[in-house]
């Protein structure tokens, strides 16, 4: 299912070496990000424990918010699948398929952010939470920084899509897509932990 009109050309040894370095750098970056999120999740758990011990007000997700966040989790997992399928497509030079999967990834990422916006509006305007209470401080900081990562991921996805539309990527040259994929999967991985810690172990 070759959709390219020009046969892909192998890249030079120097370019391949540069690609390896970029991937190495991305893994180092993700490792540091992992520690940042570990600190934020730890801070959330400690704040919650402190609130319980001191009898302070805390939040418990109701059926609607649990359903909303479960759907959001499904959306993010599905977006990760789209990225994997996109990378598999470019490995066989299916450029159009890659573009379609990147579009789907961006749409699913935007849907996740939309779900988060609904959740925030319910918490702030209906339940009256804010940065002033312990729950609000811990919750909005943790999920807000994760949401910011998703937002950056959506922008990155769209930029990768723009490059893909120029026909830059091929089975010999797709490290840029792979590196974006690493970032996106990492955001998904972090959400898997946040979902359990914040919403299910309350």
């Amino acid at each position: 299912m070759n959709q390219t009109t020009v046969a892909p050309r192998p890249i030079s040894a120097e370019a391949a070496h540069a690609n390896e370095n970029r991937k190495f750098g991305m893994w180092l970056f993700l490792s540091s990000e992992l520690l940042i999120f570990a600190g934020l999740i730890g801070a959330f758990v400690l704040t919650r424990r402190n609130a319980f011990q001191n009898g302070l007000e805390w939040w418990e997700p109701n059926a609607f918010s649990l359903a909303l966040v479960s759907v959001n989790t499904f959306i993010l997992l599905a977006s990760s699948l789209m990225v994997v399928l996109g990378i598999e497509a470019i490995r066989v030079d299916a450029q159009r398929k890659l573009q379609r999967y990147l579009i789907l990834t961006a749409i699913l990422g935007a849907m996740f952010l939309g779900g988060q916006a609904i959740e925030y509006s319910l918490l702030i305007f209906e339940e009256g939470h804010s940065f002033a209470d312990p729950f609000g401080t811990a919750f909005f900081t943790l999920t807000g920084i994760h949401g910011l990562h998703v937002f950056v991921g959506v922008l990155w996805c769209l930029m990768t899509l723009l490059v893909a539309r120029r026909g830059t990527f091929s089975s010999y040259n797709y490290t840029t897509v792979e590196i974006f994929g690493l970032y996106w999967h990492f955001v998904d991985l972090i959400w898997v932990i946040i979902f359990t810690v914040v919403y299910l172990t309350n």
Partner: protein, 96 residues
């Protein structure tokens, strides 16, 4: 030509990858299981370790099969697994 794996700079491209749809199915089922388990209102000291264990397994699946760590060079695994173990220990110790 269409099925030629990329020969340069893509060490993960040379091995057949696990079906990503299967991994997605496992992740979805595990998520549904997690949500259903919380509906039974089990004691916290029972349910929290179970949920965290499932979450860490899910995160491991994402890292191994979606981020292709299972097929990549060992150095990437070493770079990522070191802080991941620390993070898992920190979260598990605080949450349980």
């Amino acid at each position: 030509m269409a099925n030629t794996p990329a020969p340069h700079g893509h060490s993960s491209a040379h091995r057949k990858h696990t079906n990503p749809v299967l991994v997605f199915g496992i992740l979805t089922i595990a998520t549904v299981f997690e949500v259903v388990v919380t509906l039974f209102h089990l004691p916290q000291n029972v349910i929290v370790p179970i949920l965290l264990a499932i979450a860490f397994v899910k995160a491991g699946l994402v890292a191994a099969y979606y981020m292709h760590l299972r097929y990549e060079k060992w150095i990437y695994t070493a770079i990522f697994i070191t802080p991941a173990l620390f993070a898992a220990f920190l979260i598990f110790t605080l949450a349980v």
